[in-house]
């Protein structure tokens, strides 16, 4: 995180935590159980940077995005927007919404089907105080920014007349029209056709490079994170288990969970991608004590079942939440070799 010292982050999260209490039915009494959806996550979103959060269903990545957008109230932790601490306990203000915008996964469900596209774009503008005479121009400008040209052709259409890729672009345009500094994209491509996914990824990358937006890109597809992100964070059961700048995380994964994620991506060019000896158990399981990944981990040691590991630095700007990387002699077992390292390949871009 050396860059953090030089640039101030647009939006930072410090120790963001969200616990949910569920009732477990018992024979005579109901007991309570705490689900730690997000636990002590800190991250910084810089302008002109794409930060990717990768994890499978249930890893807490969507709850994290909703906390950053202040739709979900954190149990503890703080948010810092442009250097100022945000009162996370109180209601989200219009100001905050104008700075931080969320794009959801399913464009068919997130755009009102009974109104024309014009309505979806003009409503946020009016709410955020644009003049009635300007809204049409501003809405058209937002559509051009997401390459829906010519905008007039799209303004008066209904959502069902557009394809999934076009609708997701409208959804991004809607987020952009209030001129936010931070864009949170929660699985923006997973509902879309393969052929239009790259278009959306390139659009996000372009917004980040040309307009210096800070983007949080949430996905379960680690290959797309590698394609777009400046920093990648892997989450498991609410915790950050590995993070790195550039592509180091995918090229030299150090956490067994990251290795599992990578080996799960269909990759016809790599015949070793299905090596069973390297792969962790795929069934989702979380330990209450010790490392949360221990029940699935092929390298689990005694220490893993007792204590939660701290973050160990394994390279420049690359940390791993795993005892395998501890320097203490008793834990210094042979480290799981990164599976996909290839000779002569740059580790960062």
């Amino acid at each position: 995180m050396s860059e953090a010292a030089t640039a101030t982050a647009q939006l930072s999260a410090r120790g963001l935590t969200r616990h949910y209490t569920t009732r477990v039915p018992g024979r005579f009494l109901h007991s309570k159980r705490v689900v730690r959806a997000v636990d002590d996550v800190s991250l910084d979103l810089f302008e002109g940077h794409v930060t990717a959060v990768v994890g499978e269903s249930g890893s807490g990545k969507s709850v994290l995005a909703r906390m950053l957008a202040r739709i979900v109230t954190p149990t503890s932790g703080e948010l810092i927007l442009e250097g100022a601490t945000v009162p996370v306990r109180s209601r989200r203000t219009l100001d905050y919404a104008a700075k931080v915008q969320l794009v959801l996964q399913d464009p068919y469900a997130s755009i009102n089907p009974v109104h024309r596209i014009r309505h979806s774009l003009e409503r946020p503008l009016l709410i955020h105080g644009a003049k009635k005479d300007d809204v049409e121009t501003l809405a058209s400008a937002a559509l051009s920014r997401v390459s829906l040209d010519p905008p007039e052709r799209f303004l008066d259409r209904y959502p069902h007349e557009l394809s999934g890729g076009q609708l997701q672009r409208v959804s991004i345009a809607r987020a952009l029209c209030v001129k936010p500094d931070v864009l949170l994209a929660d699985e923006p491509i997973s509902m879309l056709d393969v052929s239009v996914r790259l278009g959306i990824l390139n659009l996000l990358r372009g917004l980040c490079d040309d307009e210096h937006l800070a983007i949080l890109y949430i996905t379960h597809d680690i290959a797309s994170a590698r394609y777009i992100a400046d920093e990648t964070i892997v989450m498991y059961a609410g915790q950050v288990v590995e993070r790195s700048r550039g592509t180091a995380l995918v090229d030299e994964p150090t956490h067994p969970y990251t290795q599992l994620l990578i080996s799960s991506v269909p990759d016809p060019s790599d015949p070793t991608s299905q090596d069973p000896n390297r792969t962790a158990h795929a069934t989702f399981a979380v330990a209450d004590v010790g490392c949360r990944f221990a029940p699935r981990c092929p390298f689990a040691m005694d220490v893993c079942r007792k204590d939660d590991p701290p973050d160990f630095m394994v390279g420049e700007g690359h940390s791993s939440h795993c005892w395998l990387h501890a320097s203490e002699p008793e834990a210094a077992v042979e480290v799981a070799p990164p599976r996909r390292r290839r000779e002569g390949e740059p580790t960062t871009t």
Partner: protein, 394 residues
């Protein structure tokens, strides 16, 4: 369970049914040979609606599926891949209409493994279809949550299938068979007493697979079974499927938009675009040496896991509108290699000289005015060395 009571005629001698429905001579010959193909589809077309508003969702599709093989069907939404299989199995509802072609299913007799029976699914009656559904052809749908009845415990689903199709089984036997099937897909049999909402998405999909295999079918159709799941669960289910297939030897049609997944799983792949097959080839060949510009675009739409980061373009434009298709090649508006001929004349699926693969693209016709672009003329390595081949890619 005896097949002939339902007017399903034995393969040999060749029967009049073939002649009536216009099956070609060589197809009949293959049928007489017995059991090479489990499914043969000829000139199959499906429309939605009739009259002026009619939209052709599947246009003139022909394909064969060999016994115990996996056929992958790839394409984006609206390419007709789901319509094709629903129509093939006669599960398609109005306004979907089968407007032409034949689908012939060849299946082994339950009592005598050597005897094979054929049935034209397009003309079969409901009574005949009821006999082959689940017993010989079963379907796994994309959304297991909506396919399982939310108010029934999982055990009931198994119970009902076995009760209907195996009336001679006792309750205890049915229960035991259900537990056996769950163990087969790697689940605990305590799942039988659960409701669908109590079970995770991956486990629900495994239950769907177990249900589909309950009666040892000859053909299992998977309609995007892993699209709603995340990559780790997907990997596990795919592994499970390959394993089950090698144990039980059923043939499989696997529909997905994820071409790289198909390359790992399938023996043969057909790529569909706007209701037509644009390329048909072996899985390895298709991956290493695509011939159709659309296949190439699809393959280039997946960000790679290794190698230097560079910008990919994917396929420009948006998927076609079936009610307003271009006059010539359907892919013309999005094609990077388009020629003047493509604008007016639609190419047909033609075999490429000296191979068993076929492609619908004018670039590969002998009288093409331009040489085949280098991206579309790579050769597939007979001995696959995936590492080098991935580096050769431009």
């Amino acid at each position: 369970m005896s097949a002939d009571t339902f007017d399903i005629q034995a393969v040999s001698p060749p029967n009049a049914r073939h002649a009536v429905h216009g099956l070609r001579e060589d197809d009949v010959a293959a049928g007489v040979g017995g059991n090479e193909f489990v499914l043969e589809v000829n000139d199959f077309s499906v429309d939605y609606g009739v009259g002026a508003n009619m939209v052709r969702a599947v246009n003139d599709v022909s394909l064969n599926l060999r016994r115990s093989k996996v056929l992958g069907v790839a394409g984006e939404s609206g390419s007709g891949k789901s319509t094709l299989v629903y129509a093939m199995t006669r599960l398609l509802r109005a306004p979907g209409v089968i407007s032409g072609g034949n689908v012939t299913l060849t299946f082994a007799d339950r009592e005598d493994e050597k005897a094979f029976t054929t049935l034209n699914l397009v003309t079969a009656t409901e009574k005949e279809l009821r006999k082959i559904r689940w017993t010989h052809v079963s379907v796994v749908l994309q959304s297991a949550l909506s396919a399982l009845d939310p108010v029934l415990r999982v055990g009931r689903e198994f119970d009902e299938v076995l009760k209907t199709h195996r009336p001679d089984m006792t309750k205890a036997q049915r229960r035991q068979r259900a537990a056996e099937l769950l163990t087969m897909v790697g689940l605990d049999d305590d799942r039988l007493s659960r409701f669908p909402h109590e079970i995770s998405g991956g486990q629900r999909q495994r239950i769907m697979i177990a249900l589909a295999l309950a009666l040892n079918p000859d053909l299992v159709i998977m309609d995007e079974p892993t699209t709603a799941l995340d990559v780790v669960t997907q990997r596990e289910i795919i592994g499970e499927l390959s394993d089950l297939r090698s144990r039980f030897g059923f043939a499989m049609i696997f529909i997905t938009h994820d071409l790289s997944l198909l390359v790992e799983l399938a023996d043969e792949i057909v790529v569909m675009y706007a209701g037509e097959i644009v390329e048909h080839a072996g899985a390895g060949e298709l991956y290493e040496a695509p011939r159709h510009p659309y296949t190439l675009g699809l393959l280039n739409s997946f960000p790679p896991l290794h190698g230097p980061r560079r910008e990919l373009t994917g396929i420009p434009g948006s998927p076609p509108d079936l009610s307003d298709l271009p006059a010539g090649c359907n892919f013309y508006p999005r094609c990077p290699f388009k020629m003047s001929r493509c604008e007016h004349e639609a190419p047909t699926l033609t075999a490429i000289d000296g191979s068993d693969r076929s492609v619908a693209c004018w670039l590969h016709s002998p009288d093409s005015p331009v040489p085949v672009p280098v991206e579309l003329s790579r050769t597939a390595h007979p001995t696959r060395d995936p590492v080098t081949s991935s580096e050769e890619r431009p």
